[in-house]
């Protein structure tokens, strides 16, 4: 299939919303770093080696069952906007999007499996699931990897495991992560404490778009830091329990906010709703923060549960590339903020109004 039709196809992220049971986790991702034996890593290989590795990997990956309907292209076959959209959907990294010839990608139709070729490693396989589904994601990627191994000779050492360009990925080559929505921990200023505690448990916290990105929308990525010395299942189990405890802290923080000053919280959410309905200029960071408050409102039953998918979709569609794509022509940054506001005004004209706070919630004047 073509990149254009992939972009138009409903994706895992924009169509199947996280379930209400675990609303704190927006999505789960697992990636495996793999390399071919006897070849230089992408950062050291020369142009000829890179294009040979790219051709070998594209063919092998494209032949696998889950990739029967997929986009299978070189990075140079895509324009800047298409790459940006893929980054915003968490299907490729910024590094890959910035790389020149000799790199490529294979992404399946429903955008649950994506393989980057010649990024930092020869292969970066990713499986993505909406909601909190670490085990399902692991099973899927494990099967995919085993099938791919039948076709390619992986660089592997019995002592050190899968050999990767950077020793920080050595061993399992696995990075499992969850995208978490933690508005109450942010509002109550507890995030720094959480980050430190999570670090001590061997996990890393990052912003929405990975290393060095900010946490607009109170969305954080939590993933394992270490890859060697433990089996994959053990890493996933540890991550799972860390995530579970972060979820508990977030829910407690929400409870505390509600007990301390419900009016203040409802006011924040109500104002966010007002701005989304009536603003004319919205930066993507502001949009993310407003959407984040509405999502919190859904969790607190101020808005109906079935409006959650709208917010989860807009988290992606309010990103610059998606806004630009929707209008089909180039936009200046300022124009884009206008377009984003128009788009959101339109969406929120149809969005249900917030329920009046429960009587127990609001204090009398």
């Amino acid at each position: 299939m073509t990149i254009q039709s992939l972009i138009e196809t409903p994706s895992e992220l924009t169509s199947s919303a996280s379930s209400s049971k675990c609303a704190v986790v927006l999505m789960t991702r697992i990636r495996l770093a793999r390399n071919l034996s006897g070849r230089s890593f992408p950062g050291w290989a020369d142009a000829d080696q890179r294009s040979e590795i790219l051709a070998t990997c594209r063919e092998a990956v494209g032949a696998l069952n889950p990739m029967k309907r997929s986009v299978n292209v070189g990075v140079t076959d895509l324009n800047e906007l298409q790459k940006l959209i893929l980054v915003e959907r968490h299907l490729i990294s910024r590094e890959l999007s910035g790389s020149k010839s000799g790199s490529g990608l294979v992404i399946n139709r429903d955008q649950t499996v994506s393989v980057m070729i010649n990024e930092e490693d020869h292969l970066r396989i990713q499986v993505l699931r909406a909601g909190f589904q670490l085990k399902k994601a692991w099973n899927a990627i494990n099967d995919f990897d085993s099938a791919l191994e039948e076709k390619l000779d992986y660089a592997f050492s019995p002592r050190w495991g899968y050999l990767t360009a950077c020793p920080t990925n050595l061993g399992t080559g696995m990075r499992a992560s969850a995208m978490m929505h933690l508005p109450a921990l942010v509002i109550s200023g507890q995030m720094e404490k959480i980050v430190r505690a999570v670090n001590q448990l061997g996990m890393v916290v990052r912003g929405l778009f990975g290393e060095g990105s900010d946490a607009s929308g109170s969305i954080f990525q939590i993933s394992n830091q270490t890859t060697l010395g433990e089996p994959e299942e053990e890493i996933i189990k540890r991550l799972q329990s860390v995530l579970q405890s972060i979820i508990e802290h977030e829910l407690n923080a929400r409870q505390k906010l509600l007990e301390a000053d419900p009016r203040k919280l409802f006011d924040k959410i109500g104002r966010a709703y007002g701005i989304l309905q009536h603003s004319h200029v919205l930066s993507s960071a502001e949009a993310m923060n407003l959407l984040s408050l509405l999502r919190l409102g859904i969790d607190l039953q101020i808005f109906p549960e079935d409006s959650r998918p709208v917010i989860d979709r807009l988290f992606i569609e309010a990103q610059p590339g998606h806004v630009q794509h929707a209008v089909q022509h180039d936009l200046e940054a300022g124009e884009r903020d206008g377009m984003r506001a128009t788009r959101l005004r339109d969406e929120f004209a149809r969005f249900p109004a917030p329920a009046t706070p429960p009587p127990s919630g609001a204090k009398p004047d």
């Binding site: 592997f156 020793p167 050595l170 990052r206 994959e232």
Partner: protein, 174 residues
Amino acid sequence: MGSPLKCDLCSKPATVHLTQIVNNKVHKVDLCEACAQAKGVTDPNGFSLADLLMKASLTNEPTATSATRCEQCGFTQAEFKKHGRFGCPHCYETFAAIVEPMLGTMHKGTTHTGKVPARAVSRKSLHDRLSALEGELDNAIKSERYEDAARYRDEIVQVKQAFAPKAEGESLRP
């Protein structure tokens, strides 16, 4: 009581104190929580690698100099220090003396206990078997045990054949 340290960047009270040794010079930084986060100091990924590399190069200078260039890809130790990445899978063998001490601080353990790809392992054990047989063959010839030598030669042929068809389920043992 002395006055508390102030953040080097914004002069709020500093709570994060970082000491880095770069080229044998001690650098001290005091930061407040906000600046530490903004600078990525709290992200262990951002900072630890440089530290680890320094540590490794200090403790392993004598052993590491014996193999400073990867025979397979030409990558050097200096390049590894600069980029923190290797040139090819074989570099892990070449620079084992540098890698080994890093792994302990970087990871939970120093040996792989996770998934094992069936194909790569069978290939590896065939390699090992082949080099063992070739050693035996040499020894047999040197000590003029020609019957043994003939047997080893036959086995070597068999093992080499096992390499050729890269079909699934290739048998490991002769």
